[in-house]
Symmetry: C2
Subunit: 289 residues, 2 copies
Amino acid sequence: MRNVTTENITDVFADYFGKDTDPRTREVLVAMARHIHDFAREVNLTHDEWRKGLSMLEHAGRITSPERNEFVLFSDVLGLSSLVDMMHSVPEATSSSVLGPFHVSNPPPLAIGGDMKHDFEGIVLLVEGQVRSTDGTPLAGAQLDIWQTAPNGLYSSQDPDQDIHSFHALMTTDDNGDFAFTTVKPVSYTVPTDGPVGELLDAAGRHPWRPSHLHYICSAEGHKSLVTEVFPDDDPYLDQDTVFGVRDDLVMSYAPRPASDFPDGMVLSGKVDEPFESVRFDLVLAPQD
Amino acid sequence: MRNVTTENITDVFADYFGKDTDPRTREVLVAMARHIHDFAREVNLTHDEWRKGLSMLEHAGRITSPERNEFVLFSDVLGLSSLVDMMHSVPEATSSSVLGPFHVSNPPPLAIGGDMKHDFEGIVLLVEGQVRSTDGTPLAGAQLDIWQTAPNGLYSSQDPDQDIHSFHALMTTDDNGDFAFTTVKPVSYTVPTDGPVGELLDAAGRHPWRPSHLHYICSAEGHKSLVTEVFPDDDPYLDQDTVFGVRDDLVMSYAPRPASDFPDGMVLSGKVDEPFESVRFDLVLAPQD
């Protein structure tokens, strides 16, 4: 097509594809180009706005490193990460939610009943639950990769004062699919705002806060892995998570309990002499196709 | 909104905006998010495809530098750069076309009748034209910033064997708005394919070629600046410019001429003793609003 116009440019783009192109690649790329073109036409995108968008991508490129991925953060605050998660959730299973950038490789194993709180300040939180399949079968030997913020709102990879494995653990469920550990309540925190994502949030008049949460990656033989987060029901940012991660079934209730209720068989059993909090959250995995 | 779903996520995104947000910022960002969400839903974007897109952006970030902007190149090969150009073209004026990444600052002045060919190989090309306003008034004193490839297909900034100002010039039109210079025919060339844009072109079964062209930035008092390119009508890539830059009114015809036709008043007058080629291309600028 010699005479490309504002109206035919998507067709010209589609015509450029080779005959042997992978059909899925073609489908995705043509749909992407069509939405980019429709967007530009719809808002009558100016050269200045186009340059602004490019300069934000360049800025993201300059500050992205193995420790910080500003492109993932753009995807998060634009809702794309959560949307892709939700589209591939299985209705009968626990909802998935964003992985985020703070997962670490090779988390240290933690036996059932173990403790992640160590000497950190805060009220002891007892977390208990069961991993099961969508048909109700308990999943023994399921792996639970758990991580969260320290009481200062920082993940270990953000905080030079924490060991890299602080508030990270890998737990294996027992014969009944059960797990249990102690920790402290995770706290609300902000996504990084010193890059172009912060600029976007500013321009939109949006805050950068996420409600507090516990992260889980749960995997079991014959089942799809589940990447998710669970949120306390009293967090002030539950209704406005800046990365759109909250689903109704991921909101859990913390119960205050007297010290005398603290169960046996935990690392902290016999050492808890003040009121603690407890929460129960089960994880339901979908079988593999 | 606590329970974000695949269906309400665009509304949630729009609801997050502050009340005092600039209305245009809001319009552009909400439309962008809506198209991103529609795209993901429409193709049922998988986690693997989402990660692939992010990794291509990360790759673009790693190789982008002041000398090479892979994000602009993505915009070019997806048709966005050309679309934004076309949307802001004035119908009665010469069409605009992509700037590209090879313009240099402070091009050397060249008097009317000057030569850009110097000792480079190739047939002499005589380029003549007039700059005028949309109402036909000749524009005296208009500035014409001109650049093109050397016969080896490389711009000066890509080629250590060329001076940075080789095949770059700044010409001022005479009292009749006329300009004239000699050069060699520019040649077809490929966009860089060693980055993620090359990967995208490969996946789409697309070639990386651009038809040969002369670049112009033309500016005159009281008129909108025009960034454009003009193309010879015999280039094999005219119908499939990989950056979508060709418009019918930017295609020009080269005429072969005997040496005896070479005009007086040019730097090369009296020095051309073989057949040459000539082309006439006028540039029409729109008045400022």
